[in-house]
Amino acid sequence: MKTFLTVLALTCLSSTALAQQLDLSLSSAVVTFPGSDPDAVPLVSAAPVQVTYRVRQNNKATWSLTILGAGDLISGPSRIDITNVTWVATPAPPFQNGTLSKTVAQRIASGSGNVNPSTIGSITFRLANSWTYSTGTYTQTVLFTLTAP
């Protein structure tokens, strides 16, 4: 029994020590699209967001960074579908361009193994500008998730 407990303890310690360690941070928690004339600026760009990420003790397993909108852009009773927001991300790979969704997390970057030391990617969000939008200040939250394996 003593041997069993020893093995169990070592196994648990080993599991803890082998668990992936992930770090994720954004240079800014706010992304702002300035008001623009749809004819002059059909695609409104926000200032780039720097994503700093690190993946350790991942062996050769895969990792991915995704983004999910909590809903449409909302201003009182008015909505702008979140799919009107796209992004351009660099470097590619591991980053990729995409379109926001409020239902399915969209992949921004992915890879395998470790990313150490911390690495920075740049994401520029863009809003498709339209005359059909009602005036207002729209807002919505997006969730970045770094996962492994």
């Binding site: 196994t11 992930l22 699209f33 008001g35 008015s78 005359w131 059909t132 009602s134 807002t139 939250t141």
Partner: protein, 166 residues
């Protein structure tokens, strides 16, 4: 020792079967988008003219080059109103001779509706009115009431269109 070996294997099997738990790090960001009020009007022609005609043969002269294409672009508040009006700067003038602006009428099609109207130098006349933001296009065709009573001459007036969103 003979009993610990099976237990060790059991532990290994359990650990291997469960695997390491997936872990995740998350971070939130807020998207803000400003949509400002904006209005833009474009006309396919900045000038129209009514050719001379016999009042008996052509009592109502259609303007050349024909219908004016009107494009209205506007952003307004939810439930807001977009209005396009036109007003004349005075009567048609040729020297000291005048013809009332109201002798010019129009018919509209497309997003401008099927309304008809007449020019006024006193009160802006509504060409079209809509709710909500968007782009609308239509045409406006002008007609001149041709009468024997007019003094000869070349008459001119200026029309001013105003697009407002509120």
């Amino acid at each position: 020792m003979p009993r610990t070996v099976p237990l060790f294997l059991v532990v290994l099997v359990i650990v291997a079967a469960s695997g390491l738990p997936a872990i995740a790090q998350t971070s939130n960001a807020t998207l803000n988008a400003s949509v400002n009020g904006l209005a833009r009007l474009s006309l396919s022609s900045a000038a129209i003219s009514f050719p001379d005609a016999d009042p008996d043969a052509v009592p109502s002269i259609q303007a050349a080059p024909g219908a004016i294409n009107v494009t209205v672009k506007a952003r307004t508040l939810p439930g807001g109103t977009v209005t396009l009006t036109v007003v004349a700067n005075g009567p048609l003038r040729s020297g000291i001779d005048t013809i009332p602006a109201s002798n010019i009428t129009w018919g509209a099609t497309g997003a401008l509706g099927s309304a008809t109207g007449h020019l006024s130098a006193a009160v802006p006349q509504v060409v079209g009115s809509w709710s909500a933001s968007g782009i609308r296009t239509g045409t406006q065709t002008f007609f001149f009431r041709n009468l024997w009573s007019y003094a000869t001459g070349t008459y001119t007036l200026t029309m001013t269109y105003t697009l407002s969103a509120a």
